[in-house]
Point group: C2
Chain length 830, copies 2
């Protein structure tokens, strides 16, 4: 084993010596004859160690982690959430598999909960005040896990309390255009209750848009067309499939910003300055409440008024009308809808948990890896699938660390964030508290929230389209007195039965495979009744999915090329990924398509506020096979361990694939001598933004005497500087460079992302400072500030303030790109 020797000489000696000296032990007295510490010896990523780590990540342990993490609801700041803080601390402080240090830290943050005394209710009330219909206050208790004091009833967090009552209208997805359309159709909106469906606009945006048109209250539901491929019957939905049951309701935060609402830009310590509630912005202006599609169907299919446009129709089995009010000859004639919201704002203590492996050589360079811990209910998929992976990865690394086998070149920080569901609160407060230190030292942030969105491993190998089930039954079957012909389940514990599954599932470790398959079989045995209806082939060919900024593209590519796809094929994750999400790159030809980062998870404060290169990775279902907006039980009480175990990732090989990929990325970032951040991949992005601006905005800008020339020059400078830096890097790599030289180059790579920050670019967009990735509302796929400003200016007169803002935004981009080029040029160039 070559790597052991290398370690013994390189890491074992230098790393441990370096560690001892650097980390709090600077004060070792030295005689004049003592040797200089030799941590300057070049050290690089050890491929053998990487392989070892890949091999030690066990699907079965991820499954066990998930079982424990999701065994009970763990809403932010609940007792169970706090118990999980202890669980994380215990794992990360474990003497055999823990990290160097682990701590929890609390923030006092403003959360929003439904009242326990006065439940939120949505009712249909007739003119005399009789209640004709009450929507469900809780989801149906289908598996025994949807009831109980810890299951928070569906609600719209931060929606204000109130009991608006009015005629019902249907407002599609609640976008501005939707309300405009209603207005255009002559629907009087003042004082109405608007029924909207999820998607299209953010949760809070629906209420904001509605309020602008005088709407008094908002209902939100999930249409089966958007989540269930149209299917909505109980026998078509969970627990008979992965689909959302009729009573399922997506909870969620309706806060428009992220971070603690009372302490923008300040960490929410007990003593921190807090806004008066009257000064808080971003809360929905009117009461809102989510409901299940079972209740939505009752309301919507009784609506009066003109038919909704074709694009507004869904899958509830009736013609969607616009309202206002109900059909004249139906049960609900002349009735109104009353939305009773009794949400309460509460200051609560929410914890982050941080665990660190100190770097041996460059302890002041951090690779952050995080996920949130809090869920809406059990949160097996969201977020525990990510936490289960996180714990397995930290276990494997911790074990190598405690054995003395390995220590990373740079420091690794694992984070379990609190209160993400309420608006990325834990992570945002952390970035506010340690703004400078993190900006100066963080190499990259890796986010793994929902690690697996959908089933990915159950397609039968070979050319057929058979599901595993269908294939299995062909090989092993028996005639059951209850079910007829079903796959045959042997007794567990004998060595013979799991062999084909090892083959099918491609798990290299006997031990892992054994544990894993035993569990898998047990489950199948226990729940064969449920398994029968799973149309698993629908979601076959699942795929890796990643979002990130260009510098992390290459390291994700490297990692995914080294990890085998969880499917039965021999494809790498990369080769499978490229089949599902790809694009034609002007530089590389056909490559997997990396999505851009919005604000959907805890990466948001890292990229938008701190300017740290970030990524979010997961395994997901095949979008060519289902149009589900997200996995169907998202934010409902049906997102449970069994749901994952049965429908999302039976076998947990997709979880394992994510762990391997994330671990591979993490190791490359922490251990590579040269940081694996390919900054020149920003050239392609900048060029494409520029081309979009030239193509789609060029004429308009010319009409207003605004030249894109300076932007062209800036992008050219960036391209030249990046290409030249690549050459210098290659030449350095070909030699045996001094650690200080590499550090200097690495600093350029690390800090490039920071150069795109401008805290004054978007004064009205809280935290958004990154001039390339701030929210874009304009339709042109270019620099967001430019796109948005052009969109706003397009209907104004020449010389308007709006056109001045276009020029300002253009200058901001030019300065940022020029500054980025300056950062990449040789450091001693003037």
């Amino acid at each position: 084993m070559q790597w052991v020797k290398v370690l013994g000489l390189g890491l074992g000696g230098a790393a441990l010596l370096g560690l001892g000296i650097i980390l709090g032990h600077f004060a070792i007295p030295k005689g004049t004859d003592s040797p200089a510490p030799s941590i300057s010896a070049p050290q690089d990523l050890d491929l053998e160690i990487l392989k070892t780590i890949m091999g030690q990540l066990e699907a079965s342990r991820i499954r066990e982690n998930l079982r424990e993490l999701s065994s009970e609801p763990h809403l932010a700041t609940s007792l169970r959430d706090e118990a999980l803080v202890q669980l994380l601390l215990q794992r990360w402080r474990d003497p055999v598999s823990g990290l160097d240090v682990a701590e929890a830290s609390e923030y006092e943050v403003l959360l929003s909960f439904p009242s326990q005394e006065q439940p939120n209710i949505v009712e249909v009330v007739d003119p005399t005040g009789n209640v004709l219909h009450s929507c469900l206050q809780n989801e149906e208790n289908i598996t025994g896990e949807q009831a109980g004091p810890d299951v928070v009833p569906p609600y719209a967090a931060y929606a204000p309390p109130g009991t608006p009552q009015g005629l019902l209208v249907y407002a599609n997805r609640g976008t501005e255009e939707d309300f405009k359309e209603l207005q255009a159709q002559g629907i009087r909106l003042e004082g109405t209750i608007a029924l909207t469906r999820y998607g299209g606009a953010g949760r809070g945006a629906k209420a904001v848009n509605a309020a602008k048109y005088g709407v008094a209250g908002v209902l939100v539901y999930t249409d089966p067309a958007d989540i269930n491929d149209g299917q909505s019957l109980p026998n078509e939905t969970f627990p008979n499939s992965w689909r959302l049951p009729p009573s399922g309701v997506e909870r969620g935060s309706y806060f428009e910003y992220f971070g603690d609402p009372l302490t923008p830009y300040l960490p929410a310590h007990h003593s921190s300055f807090r806004l008066d509630l009257v000064n808080v912005s971003g809360f929905p202006p009117i009461p809102a409440q989510p409901i299940g599609f079972q209740d939505a169907k009752y309301l919507l299919c009784n609506l009066d008024g003109p038919s909704a446009p074709a694009a507004w129709q869904g899958a509830l089995g009736c013609d969607y009308k616009l309202g206002p009010g109900f059909l004249p000859n139906g049960n609900l004639t002349d009735s109104q809808v009353r939305v009773s919201v009794h949400n309460q704002l509460e200051l609560r203590n929410s914890s982050n948990v941080l665990g660190m492996i100190r770097g041996a050589v460059e302890p002041d360079r951090y690779v952050l890896y995080g996920n949130h811990r809090d869920s809406w209910v059990h949160g097996a998929v969201d977020p525990s699938s990510g936490t289960a992976v996180l714990l397995e990865l930290s276990r494997v690394l911790g074990t190598l660390l405690k054995k003395g086998t390995w220590r990373p070149r740079r420091s690794i920080v694992f984070a379990s964030w609190g209160a993400e569901e309420f608006g990325l609160i834990g992570s945002t407060e952390f970035t506010e508290e340690f703004f400078s230190k993190l900006q100066e030292r963080t190499v990259a942030y890796i986010n793994v929230d929902i690690s697996v969105f959908g089933i990915g491993v159950v397609r039968s190998p070979g050319p057929s389209d058979l599901s595993i089930y269908d294939n299995w039954i062909k090989h092993f079957n028996r005639s059951s007195s209850v079910y007829g012909l079903i796959p045959s389940l042997g007794s567990l514990g004998a060595g013979s039965d799991y062999a084909p599954f090892i083959h099918f599932l491609g798990i290299s470790s006997m031990d892992i495979a054994y544990t894993y398959d035993r569990e898998f079989f047990s489950k199948l045995q226990e729940r064969t009744v449920a398994y029968i209806n799973v149309d698993i082939s629908v979601f076959a060919n699942a795929t890796f999915r990643a979002q990130g900024t260009p510098p992390v593209q290459s390291v994700i590519f490297s990692a995914t090329k080294e990890v085998r796809s969880p499917g039965p094929s021999d494809l790498s994750i990369y080769d499978n990924w490229i089949k599902h999400f790809n694009r034609s790159s002007s530089v590389y030809g056909l490559i997997p398509s990396l999505g851009s980062l919005g604000a959907g998870s805890d990466y948001a404060p890292f990229i938008h506020f701190l300017g740290i290169s970030s990524m979010d990775i997961a395994y997901t279902y095949d979008r060519s096979k289902t149009s589900a907006r997200i996995y169907p039980t998202y934010h409902t009480a049906f997102d449970t361990f069994d749901y994952v175990d049965k429908f999302v990732d039976p076998g947990f090989s997709s979880h394992q694939a994510v762990a391997r990929t994330a671990g591979n990325v993490l190791l490359r970032l922490s251990d590579s001598f040269f940081l694996p951040l390919n900054v020149s991949d920003y050239s392609e992005t900048l060029r494409s933004f520029l081309q979009a601006a030239q193509r789609d905005l060029g004429d308009l800008l010319k009409q207003h005497s605004i030249s894109l020339g300076p932007l062209v020059t800036a992008v050219e400078k960036f391209e030249a500087a990046a290409a030249s830096l690549d050459q210098r890097k290659s030449a350095l790599q070909a030699g045996s460079p001094d650690p200080l030289q590499v550090r200097m180059l690495n600093d350029q790579l690390m800090l490039l992302e920071r150069t795109f920050l401008n805290p004054r670019a978007f004064p009205e967009e809280r935290y958004y400072s990154h001039v390339l990735w701030a929210p874009r509302t304009g339709s042109v796929a270019t620099f967001p500030g430019l796109a948005n400003a052009c969109s706003k200016a397009s209907n104004t007169d020449p010389g308007s303030e709006a056109w001045a803002e276009v020029q300002r935004q253009l200058s901001i981009v030019v300065v940022a790109v020029e500054g980025a080029a300056a950062t990449l040029r040789p450091v001693a160039d003037l």
Copy 2:
């Protein structure tokens, strides 16, 4: 010469090899047998090199630099200013004594000039429109240098054009309190012209304050009480002394902010977005014009109305009255004052010149050293005394560089900024253009603007108070038929006469002394008539003066201890300095007092906008001997070479002392293995700010339930972290640390200052982001945000927005100090 050997081995080898590899030459192909670059060999400040540099800085060359720089007026963007750009480029590109690279870069900035066609005029006009008196439009041409097309007439830059006419009032210094006082005395201010004197409030602030009270125009003059120790007669003033002549007028920018007025936060490139003029803020709201005290006396001594308060009286030789209007029975009865201002705003190209010495080992760490180049007229003191020093320092370093004798560890960047006089424009645009790169890499900024404010070396040695002149005349004299007894000037070129001056002036190099003395004597010969009245002993015992943030205190102390004071004594600059400006430090006992940085010169954008540890150093006159607000010819046409040569620093030994000190500081910052930034000196500052808050604001805060507890904790954490870092540093220093370890520690030192930046702390203060050094208007010597907020809140009700702002400011400070502590703690602490 020991250092040559060291260089040959350490620097000559490692540095040049490293340089070749690092700086643009990464692409050297390497066989596997090529040796690794050895730049990791520890290198530290070489004291022999330092001594060499100190010895090579020649007073005579500084004098020649100054003569050339100030030979003609060089107003920003004038032809002569551009000629000086070429002069700097030529010097810095000199093959024998130049730097590695030098470049000029232009910004297109908005300046303000008086109209050439319509001169600004201040007149007294009688009721029939007859002009009874016109103030001088130009200074009196006393030395032949106060006239000509390149001497810009006195004006208030950025004051708007207009011809207000009204009754004259006297408004002291034009502070808010001054106008309140006038109002309290029943003086009707609406439509008046307010005569104010310099000092007390910023230039622009006088107009802003005046406009609030309905004043229509502002005149500003310099009172002899404030600049001339009361003396005002022609025979008491220049060219018969260093004092301001009666016609002298201080020009200046009346812009309230700094940086190009049209492009806040953006570099003023040709294509950059520019504000519409109507949206520009910071210009004086009403016309303003400065005048000489000769004209001010005529106006003021004819004023009617009640006597001004005692504190408002000056030295014009009459009782100052308040007005409005002139004495009833005088020449000016019933007359008004008309202020005709025809200033024009113009977009002009202003150049910065940058020169760089590339660092051998850490080229990506910059030590910046800068001064502005532009003057109001000849600007011999302001700024050419600093530029003359800058050129001498760059010559000495460049010569060593070109010889191959020396190359600094880190990169040194010399800067000659343009358009400082209009509002630090060149330096600010530079910081806007390279914001990220500079923030990431700059170790410190050294500013040497006016290098010598006043005479400092001419006191006779020994216990007497005799001036050099008086002492000299005792030793060498002759009876002149014109002047009577004067010092005897021998013929130059013989070796005998300059010997005592070498002794007096303490110049170690024969060659320097020779050149210098020859010049000095020539001047004395030519201008003996002027010399006779010089009361040079008044300003004897001049002193070093420095402003800076705490981390630079120690390096300034180190440097000043190594440079001999320019006086005749054997004192070091440090020992002399401590006699003039000192304070009792809780840590060190009695030490020289380092001033804090305002916005008086180009350091402002570096410290306030970028958070780079900065300093401004100079030699200045003895404030116990004169109450002059600044050197008397400041911003007038009398600030000429002869003025410096005769009155400010005959012999240029103070200039030399500044060159040596600045050079010493520069070398320490560029060459020391461990950065000589003593961050723990911030502990004393934070503690003193805290104590002031506790002492002077504690009760008030308690009344409003605002606790200083979190601030106490934060300061304690900082103190502990800083002390512990000091220990780790000492232990490292005692060993033979790895360059990477030192780099990590140095990064902590360098970046500490950055942690005090918060771009959202003071949204209304353009560029001011440093929470410790932003402008403080509140009277308590504590954190400015807290002091100012308390000052504003003190008269408001509990629960007001103003009290909320106090809490917000307190939280901002707590977060900054906690963040600073986190930056100083061991880098791998959680």
